[in-house]
Subunit: 398 residues, 2 copies
């Protein structure tokens, strides 16, 4: 029997998915499981998108242009212009989810063995994409006691080598909920220009910014136009993760044209997803207002309630819909599995994502977990109560 | 400004796409262009799929399982069982088009620098996927005078090295229309077992087989169950290229589970495309009968008419809807460009795909072009007439 490739053996399993069998077993036993572990929101997709799908009128579901339907790209260009990002439709490539945009950027800008710096904890799938592209993820640690702010530039300088080609910043951040400021991005500017690097800017949670703060896009850093590649997605913005419609945006023509070549090999992004995405551009402000209100209520509720539990610390996230919380346990992976396997409160339990999987540095995050506040307040109330009761009896409590 | 990666600079541009600007310019001048260059059929998608899209009833367009909706995989398993391929739904991973299945298989089975053997001329995008996976495509030449049959096994033996990990076979073949026989596949079996290789079997044109011949799937080669990875797609079978719904099928559990890990990183294949794909499983036999009749008429017509032109040789394809034809020119790329730029017959012209782009060996295919007979008979008639008239006056005719 032929062997698997060495790289495939190194492909990281998602830290969340490891627990899925335990969640399934719990459900089979009749336990209700509150999923605080995943980013699949319960918010309805915009009616405009659902209607566009339901009114589909073509007879042949054809390929689109490899960079996406021109009408959709023109619509996206307007969307960006309205939020102060100066791009035209020839600087926007529609991709199969934000995931594909990241892979294409890595392939376009980085050779096998090259290094990309990422503040940890970070979106785990970056490691999977890096495996595909044959590149190395080099973490620098952001800390819960700083609210997961950008580590000092001196920390970046320490790990830069002649293989460093890019820095990836998720803003607002999954998994921490941190919102990087304009000032932090300008600190990166100097570093990036000094070492001739790319900035990969993952801004798929752009609309989820709270407390009157403003999102500052890496695309707006003056003098960095040739270095920035923006990754975007309709998944979270419009709560339609299943359409697999994202975008790679850059003013760097060489990068754009080469990314499109990778896109040509796979022919086209999904046509129906683009239909839903284009229709979503007509989503009224009232939709975002109500989504915003829902998330801010959920955030305020869950963070406040979690912090009331003895030994739990949950920093207030400024964006996205995640938070990394500290738990009074010495092995959160074990705790999360125990919640599913051995615990219930009134026949209900909670699934959390152990944070160690969001760190590349061995040993970090072992007393932390990521929560996604994508459930209704009533469900969040029950989930927090379960965590509280669980910590009273968990044998590994510290 | 940071540089592109070396590999990105090596990413091949599609041989077809190079001519697109010339086709666009021709259309701007008011010329009608018959597209024999692309595989986008004009056949309607099944009404079952269109209806499924139009009756979409969910409120949230959610992620699916990373390996695809279970109900769809179960339906696909039945489809395969009905055609004699013994697989269950846990051996089927739904992918974003057949393209993604190929990339995931390369990543799973091959390390950077490893080699995959392919009979040329071959589907050009294999080279793009190989670039992404950092592997090398090693061609062995199949010949128009043999109707593009499988080259002798001795030719494979000549190029096998310790880096050879797989052979990829497209059956029925794009671009040649050749249908590999059961005997040819069993010849490969011995070779594959001897050298412990994988067979990557691209069978997306399975339903397009003519003249009473039967398609023999590589999945049916006895004793090769652990070596075969099947790539599939709904794009051509149901004429819905835009849904981006394919599959990776294998009885090798290690390969399957690892491919799913790559799938988990990108979260899920398109949900709406899966909806259309699942509905398409209910497509009545009458649909395929009428599609079959349409294609066989087109094939018979276009091949017969082309062979009437002096100096043109078009082997009769047994499957798919392509043929590589020989032209009395010494540089078909120039001829194809000239057709668009400098020629018209009654203000109409034809776009062909120069065959050199389908060969990896430098210098081959320069008097050949690929045609896709995806147009109505009347259009094919006009297209052939244009080619005939063009060859009368083409300055590079030999």
């Amino acid at each position: 029997m032929p062997k698997l490739s060495t790289r495939a053996n190194k492909m990281p399993a998602s830290p969340i998915r490891k627990l899925v069998p335990f969640a399934e077993a719990a459900k089979k036993k009749g336990k209700k499981v509150y999923h605080l572990n995943i980013g699949q929101p319960d918010i309805h997709s915009p009616q405009e998108s659902i209607d566009a799908v339901r009114n589909y009128e073509e007879k042949v579901i054809e390929y689109s242009h490899s960079a996406g339907h021109e009408s959709y790209r023109k619509g996206l260009a307007k969307y960006y212009q309205n939020i102060g990002i100066d791009v035209d439709h020839n600087e926007i490539m529609v991709t199969t989810g934000g995931s594909e945009a990241i892979v294409f950027a890595m392939l376009t800008c980085m050779n096998p063995g090259d290094e990309i710096i990422v503040p940890e904890p970070y979106y785990t799938n970056y490691s999977g994409f890096a495996n595909q592209a044959g590149i190395e993820v080099v973490p620098i640690t952001s800390k819960i006691e700083d609210g997961f702010a950008l580590p000092p530039i001196s920390e970046f300088e320490k790990v830069i080598t002649n293989k460093t080609k890019a820095i990836i910043i998720c803003n607002p951040n999954n998994p921490t909920g941190y919102l990087y400021s304009k000032e932090e991005l300008y600190q990166l500017k100097d570093l990036v220009l000094k070492h001739d690097l790319y900035i990969f800017a993952d801004e798929v949670y752009r609309e989820f910014v709270y407390d009157g703060e403003e999102h500052f896009s890496a695309m707006k850093i003056e003098g960095l136009e040739q270095n920035v590649i923006l990754f975007d997605s309709v998944s979270k913005r419009y709560s339609m993760c299943g359409v697999r419609t994202g975008a790679l945006v850059t003013k760097n023509k060489e990068v754009y044209e080469t990314a499109v070549k990778y896109g040509q090999a796979r022919l086209s992004p999904p046509s129906l997803g683009q239909l839903a995405g284009e229709a979503a551009l007509e989503t009224p402000k009232s939709y975002f207002d109500s989504v915003y209100n829902e998330y801010i209520n959920r955030r305020n509720f869950v963070i406040e309630e979690l912090n009331k539990i003895e030994g739990v610390f949950a920093p207030m996230p400024k964006g996205a819909f995640y938070s990394i919380i500290q738990l009074p346990v010495n092995d959160s992976e074990h705790f999360c599995q125990w919640l599913l396997e051995d615990f219930d409160y009134q026949n209900e339990t909670v699934m959390l994502a152990p944070a160690s999987g969001f760190y590349a540095t061995e040993g970090l995050g072992q007393n932390e977990a990521r929560i996604a506040y994508v459930l209704k307040i009533d469900d969040l109330r029950n989930a927090v109560k379960i965590i509280e009761e669980a910590l009273k009896v968990y044998p590994g409590r510290v």
